[in-house]
Each structure stands twice: as C-alpha cells, then as structure tokens.
Symmetry: C2
Subunit: 310 residues, 2 copies
Amino acid sequence: MLDICLLGTGGMMPLPRRYLTALAVRHNGNTILIDCGEGTQMALRANNLSPNPIGIICFTHYHADHISGLPGMLLSMANAERTEPVLMIGPAGLKRVVDSLRVIAPGLPFEIHYRELKEAEEQIQIPEGYIRAFKVKHNVTCYGYSIVIERRGRFDAAAAKAQEIPLKFWNRLQHGETITGDGRVFTPEMVMGPDRKGLKVTYTTDTRPTESIVKNAAGSDLLICEGMYCEAEKKEKAIAKKHMMFEEAAEMAAAADPQPKELWLTHFSPSMIYKQVEQAMGGVRSIFPDAYLGKDGKSLELKFEEEEAV
Amino acid sequence: MLDICLLGTGGMMPLPRRYLTALAVRHNGNTILIDCGEGTQMALRANNLSPNPIGIICFTHYHADHISGLPGMLLSMANAERTEPVLMIGPAGLKRVVDSLRVIAPGLPFEIHYRELKEAEEQIQIPEGYIRAFKVKHNVTCYGYSIVIERRGRFDAAAAKAQEIPLKFWNRLQHGETITGDGRVFTPEMVMGPDRKGLKVTYTTDTRPTESIVKNAAGSDLLICEGMYCEAEKKEKAIAKKHMMFEEAAEMAAAADPQPKELWLTHFSPSMIYKQVEQAMGGVRSIFPDAYLGKDGKSLELKFEEEEAV
C-alpha cells in the first residue's frame, strides 16, 4: 500500500491556511518526502505525520518555496533521535545548497547522503520499487518524480509441482531468490507469472508542459501536477515565469497513455482565491474528467488491484 | 503609539497552532521585527500584517527557530516590491549566517545593512527613540532588546512669551531645533520642560536569568520574556540548556526597578501542554501579579501616559 498525503497546495509563499506544496508518500513504515518549503514540518504535524520516518527527501529544484523548510525539518528529525542516514535527491548543486542552509543546522546525529541528478531521466532503487526522476522545464533545472512500487507475478503452484520443486523452496522463490539445492538450480522464472500492475504516483511542479511529464504520468494511479494559475489572462505570465495553467495540466493527463487514474492540481498562486479555483474546474474536467483540486492534507491510499479468483 | 504583536509563542519547532516566538513592533508606519523563525511570515499574515514595512530585523541569536524563516521573509518583501534598505541587528556572525541562508534568496531589490553587536550593551538610534541590545546568557551569544520611544518635555508657552521668543520659531523649537534668527540664538531648553515618560517594550528569550534583563526590564511598559518550562522537574534541564522557567521570568520582572507594567511569557517548549501552562500561572502571579501567558497574536497598543490638565 502507498499512503499519499499532499501536505500543502501553495506556491511562492506559505499562507496561514495554505502550506507550501509538498508530498509525503509512505510505504512499509518509510516516508518519502518531495519538496520541503517553509512550514512543511508544520503540515506534517497537522496531518499527524512524524518527521522521523523520512528516509528520502526529493527536491524538484531549489527555489525557496521548495526547500526553505529543510533546516527546521532536519533539526526536528534530530530531536526525534533519528540516527539512520537520510538520502537527498535533487538537481546538481544539492550538496552545496544543503550545506549552505545548514549554517543553522550544523550538528546532526545522522548522515546525509546525496544523489545529484544529471541525466534527463534517472532511476533510484528503493525497497520493492524505484523512484524515477525526470527533467521538466522551469527557469532553473527542475525535476518531476514518479514513485513506483512493483508487484511480482503470481506464484504458480501447479507449475512448481509439475517441475517437482521441493516445497521448502517455494517461499524463497516467491521472494525472487535463485536457489541451488538438492542437486538442482531453481529460478523464480520457473514458478512466477509475469509481473503484475504495481502502484505509481507522479509529482511535478514548477514547469511548463513537457513530453517528459506526459511519458512519466502514463500508468500513474495518481498524477499530482502544478496548476499555478487558472485565469486565461494569466497565461502569458505562466509562459514567462515557466509555470503551468490548470488546463495545461489536464491536457497532459489526457495525453498520457495509459492515462493516470486521477489528477490533483496544486502549487496555487497566492493571488488566486478559492472561488476562482473552484469555478475553473469545469473547464479542466472537460479535458480530463478525473481531475480534482488539491487541498492541504488531501490523502489517498493506493492498493494493489483486486484480482479475479483463479 | 507603539503597536505590539507577539507573532508566536513556540520554542524549538513550529506547530500547527503555535508559531515560533517572534515580535512585531510598529511605530509610525515602520515595523521592527525581532526574530524570524520558520513560519513567521505566516504569523504576520495571520495577524493582517504585511512584511513590506519591516525596516529593521533584530535577531536574539542564530538557532534555527529564531532565523529559519528569514529567506522566505526576504523573498516576500521582494515580492511586495520593497526597495528601501533593511537593517539587520544581531550578534557577531550576522552577515555570514544571512549570506549563507541567502543561497535560496540571492537576488533582492533592496540592500541589507548589518549591525553586528559586540559590546555587552549597544544602542541603535531609530526615529524618535532607540533600540537597546543587551547581552543575555544562552549556550551561544544571545541578546535581548528594548525598543524605546522617547517623549520630549512639555512646551512652556509662558516661558516663551517671557523671553520674547517670536511666535514663528515656537514650532521648530518644540521639535528640538536650535534657531539663529532676529539677531539672537534660541535653544529648545529655553522653552521645553524635562523629558516625559516615553514608551518601552523589552523582549528576551533563550537565556538564563541575568542582571542585564533585570536592568533593561526596568521601566518597561511590557516585558516579553522566555518561559520555556513550567514544571519544577524541568529546572535541571532549563539550567543545562540555558533556558528559563516561568517563575524565574516572574522573579526578574519583580526585581526590576521600576517594575515593568506587564509580563508576557513566551517560547514554550513543544512538550508543554496548554493545561499545564495555565495551571502554572498561579505560582507565577504570586511572584509578579501582572503576568500573562503569551498567546499567538496577543497584541497591545502602548500610548503615552495621559497628563493632568495644567
């Protein structure tokens, strides 16, 4: 199961009832955080989440509204007595930026490991899946992220029996192990069906529409995408500042193949009032029906698809 | 008039309903901010205050909960199109810390001027008064601040007439000008009574009790003082970490001569629950009766004392 919580929906500056856009994704007791602007640790608390299980922090880019909450977050993790290392992932320059911010968070009881992204797409293994970073198009280098949990194929007991594979090896084979025993070599492929559909959430913000977003949104259970402005007269500004309109986000969701199951918009301009935002959703849904406004604390539990009984 | 707003009351980390301790003091359209932890710009907004009129930012010290909100605040001031310089005041190292944090707030449309404190007490002139910084006792160099608005003596019209001072010079003399005219020299002392009681607010946090606090709290209309812990069993921790107990704050207020008119406690430990805090106020008020719990957004307008009709 992937537990997803959109911690905030604001762009540029945190507001009293609108935290800055950031995402917490929980899987098997570990939390992956994407972006960490000012107040993100407050948003975690507001959603009854702890900073301590955060093992990976991904940054889209280093504008302040996406990283200014990091020093406080690191200190809160230290106060929660974290000792395991934290992996940070982000565009080139990551260590330099984090080191500079750490002037006010110098001594930590855990190590920080850095993965600086250089390619247009990079993949980072995590337990039971991977994070895929893909370059998008902002006025500084910026990445989107997909978090994918893979699901092995179904175990074929009949095939195991037919091949006379001893029962004592079945469980290890199901977990992907290759086993040498009883004078033979047993591989998972002998007993496992093809990989089944896993879980996928994709997050991208501070970008113009790109092919990379359409490609990586494909097959997502949830696409969380920037919607900085909804008013037609703001389109020129969006293009100039390399941000995205509501309808552009919907167009990308619609173009992805297969389409994401849901689209949530986020990273709203502080100048937008909620009523405008609500009204704009009609146009958005005419392009991509399963589109929703992001809200602070909006959550979703993604589960593996039910399967037909065999 | 001094308009005082305690923006938050938290210590260590910002919580969803408790912003970090910071103070906004407004006088004649200018705002002085003391401390700027993560979320302080949200607290300003929550109190319908704008970041733009902030001309002076004082820092007690550079622990993250007192300065981590600075990069976002500077960017919000830039977004509000500020162009006038901002004066920052704080212990030695100020420019180095601010420069380091500005890795995520590099280009600003206004200059930053720095006043790094070195002496045990320093005084900085402001229009119609001064800021006095005084060293306190934390585990890093830390200062408290008094903001003082001075009030000139009363104009003595009878004396002006008796000395045959032309009417055309009266207004300028009232504003402190020395005038050469009509073949004579006129000084304010010729017509002005002794200085009258002005306004004074004193703010200190992250410190053990000190003589400097007692001295500078004297004559304050309002003393805002750290009360990190209220439980007797936390006293050892307070001493070790160089923080202050509720009752110690009250003892300093009581020892000041003349006593401050009011004491507000702030910078509460995140471990304290509100009920404990409320209950502890009985003991505090037995030491200093005019003691109050700080609350997020607690405000006070200080006005010059009414005078008896002459």
